[in-house]
Amino acid sequence: MSAPGPMLVRARGLRFAHGSRVIYDDVNVDIARGKVTAIMGPSGSGKTTLLRLIGGQWRPGAGTVEFDGTNVHALGRRALYSLRKRMGMLFQNGALLTDLNVFENVAFPLREQTRLPEPMIRDLVLMKLHAVGLRGARDLFPSQLSGGMSRRVALARAIALDPDLVMFDEPFAGQDPISMGVLMRLIRSLNDALGLTSIVVSHDLQEVLSIADYGYLIADGKVQAQGTADEIRASGHPWVRQFLEGLPDGPVAFHYPATDYAADLLGKAQP
């Protein structure tokens, strides 16, 4: 086996389409080992799609995704499943199993994937829950948790098997400032303390750039900008400007495509 390269994930020439809608057109993304990488873009630009492609849930139309040197989409089902044990994923709303309590949700991957004795599972679960500050919430059910708490439980579950890579799908969406701050600090500190590699998909540019080592701005099916947080902030690229400043008009137009306004008003009413 060759020495581990600096990149944990390499996506090359990705193409992906939902029916006739092209989501990716020749996208290259590298995820550096041990770093927090931000994937940013407007809603509907397929940020989540990238995570599903890396996890092998969806197949690209063309191009490859390599995880630690292995082509994810060339694997058989069994090999893919064993590769996934090295990835954790945090879905947008946590995706906790609603019929299990917090403790059992975090224990779920351990019970399914390992044959550890019960006392050890208990210790591991409590350690993971303590890391996200929810050791005391172990007996609650997902319906009793706030959005931010659900995501923290999901984070504890995602790191239960000590993966190499953790993928966060819109971890800040719909969170109040306190909960957002907690999640941001958790993502950064867990990444460094556990030696993880993190991918954070988000459209909250300012927030995600404050914790990311490197970032990609994906829009219109392409990588529009990439670089360190400071490089992206300093970039004069119109996509970056519209995004950072929240401008209503720009590459993302305010008006949905339509015919000429005056002609539309003065023209004959459509039957």
């Binding site: 599903r52 996890g55 849930q57 499943y81 064993s82 996934r84 044990k85 990835m87 954790g88 994923m89 879905f91 947008q92 709303n93 995706a95 906790l96 199993l97 609603t98 779920f108 991957p109 399914e112 994937q113 999901a154 579950r157 098997l161």
Partner: protein, 255 residues
Amino acid sequence: MNGTLSVIQGFLGGLGRAQFFVLQVVASLPSLLLRPRLLVQQLYHVGQLSMIIIVLSGSFVGMVLALQGYRTLIRFGAEESLGVFVALVIIRELGPVVTALLFAGRAGSALAAELGLMRATDQLSAMEMMAVDPVRRVVAPRFLAGVIAMPLLASIFAVMAIGIAGGHAIGVELLGVDAGSYWSQIRASVGMEDIADGLIKSLVFGFAVSWIAVYQGFHAEPTSEGVARATTSTVVISSLSILALDFVLTAFMFK
């Protein structure tokens, strides 16, 4: 013309996908041997929680049959045969069919809604990402529980309808048919093959309803509308399939 063709094409395509899916589910059933707890939990949800509705409707169907049957039979002075009348109608026909229809409405819709909700809230995707096969972990125990529960529920329905609170209560207690002839005529005229026919029917219906419910739920659109649609189509498709299958099975058994 083209519209009809594409509807037929869509129907056959769906049927093919559903068949492929049920093969996947059946193939993962042996893994349940290692984890019987998963099956027991689902038997409780699918079977035990359908008990009240089955017991109540069994009683009412039995009572109605006794009233209707008595009216007709007494014209021929044959009211002593009321027991056979109720027993044969329930065991061969109404027991499996009504139980299956209620089962589709109670357990089938709940199954589809549960799986659809798991799909819509990414729980199924999350399992896949945790390297856990949702077909094996979630679908297989629910499907098998449905297949096992249906014949049991149909048997309970039959017991309620013929005895205890159904036909016996009305026929013997209210209308005064002799209890001895009620039961002895049943014993003399209802054979093993009648019971076997009824059990086969309820087994087939249980397979069909569970199949339709898990397929619709598992493949629901991941939205609230998708879950609602999956639940509705589970009940509609199940009910139609039950009645159509009942005709086919009866035709084969009617010799």
